[in-house]
């Protein structure tokens, strides 16, 4: 068997959690698109999560 890359499972678990959190925020917002308080909070949550991924500071995610 080939040698898997280091931290593969850790990275996979982190990204899986990120995706789950994003789906959760989207799911919270979609039924409430006409209720600004709820939908704006959902969008803000998505932005916070996505900003972290887009920043790409991979070392920080795993520590």
């Amino acid at each position: 068997m080939p040698q898997a890359v280091a931290n593969l499972d850790q990275m996979d678990e982190h990204l899986e959690a990120v995706v789950r959190a994003l789906y959760g925020a989207v799911k919270q917002g979609i039924p409430h698109v006409k209720e600004p308080q709820i939908v704006d909070k959902a969008i803000a949550d998505c932005k916070e999560i996505l900003d972290e991924i887009m920043a790409g500071k991979v070392d920080e995610w795993l520590n």
């Binding site: 890359v5 593969l8 979609i30 959902a42 969008i43 996505l50």
Partner: protein
């Protein structure tokens, strides 16, 4: 032609060329998956026309991140670390289409309609491929890409139906993205592409895949009242 089906446990026994090609194609695929959100999240999450569209931008990005994760896992198991693509600047993306930033809603719509469709073509190349762990992750990824394509198409159509100004914006975005989409298939007559086919990692030549794409997209463009851009103008790869 190589016709065997390979599992992870067989990988060490494979020819070095097979290992190199598989690692390379997985790295590019991972880069493209994460390259999409890097193009549109920054501006479109806030600028999408409705709250629902903003949430759909976020959901689309979530799906692409998940596609990256699945590809990175397949690559990681054969010892290929693709995590560097998570932090590299857009200007260093493997595929030129992903270098830059999407600044307008019409570009975002047409990106889904045309570029995610190229993504689907790239993934379909791996259907029935020789590396089974790659084949196994395809169905869910392709299903989600189909959703992105449909959303992009519907948003492009909405723009066209909004009036002359919207139609002009959509046409300009199509003029910009269509030639980039055609270039994404790579050079006709590429030797690397032939080796991918030899090893059962891809099904079609670059030229054939590009032609199939044009045959699918051009009638769609005409159907929604847009002009088909000159497919040779502004191209990097012919």
């Amino acid at each position: 032609m190589f016709t065997d089906k390979i599992e992870l446990r067989d990988f060490d026994k494979m020819d070095p060329e097979y290992k190199e090609l598989l690692g390379h194609v997985l790295t590019i695929q991972a880069d493209c998956e994460i390259g999409g959100p890097h193009l549109y999240v920054e501006k479109m999450l806030g600028a999408a026309p409705t709250k629902l569209d903003q949430l759909i931008v976020a959901r689309t990005a979530a799906e692409e991140i998940d596609h990256y994760r699945k590809v990175a896992r397949v690559a990681g198991h054969i010892g290929v670390d693709v995590s560097f693509v998570l932090s590299q600047p857009n200007e260093k993306r493997f595929i030129a289409t992903f270098r830059g930033l999407i600044n307008t809603w019409e570009d975002n719509a047409v990106f889904g309609f045309l570029i995610d469709r190229v993504g689907r073509y790239q993934l379909e190349e791996f259907y029935n491929c020789s590396y089974l762990p790659l084949q196994r992750i395809l169905p869910d990824i392709v299903t989600e890409e189909l959703g992105h394509i449909e959303y992009g198409f519907n948003k492009t159509l909405e723009l066209i139906q909004s009036g002359d100004e919207g139609k002009e914006k959509a046409q300009r975005a199509v003029d910009f993205w269509y030639v980039r989409a055609l270039d994404m298939f790579g050079r006709s007559g590429s030797k690397r592409s032939e080796r991918y086919r030899y090893w059962g990692l891809k099904r079609r030549s670059n030229d054939q895949a590009r032609q199939d794409y044009m045959n699918e997209v051009e009638p769609l463009l005409r159907h929604i009242g847009l002009k088909v851009p000159d497919p040779t103008k502004g191209r990097q790869y012919i």
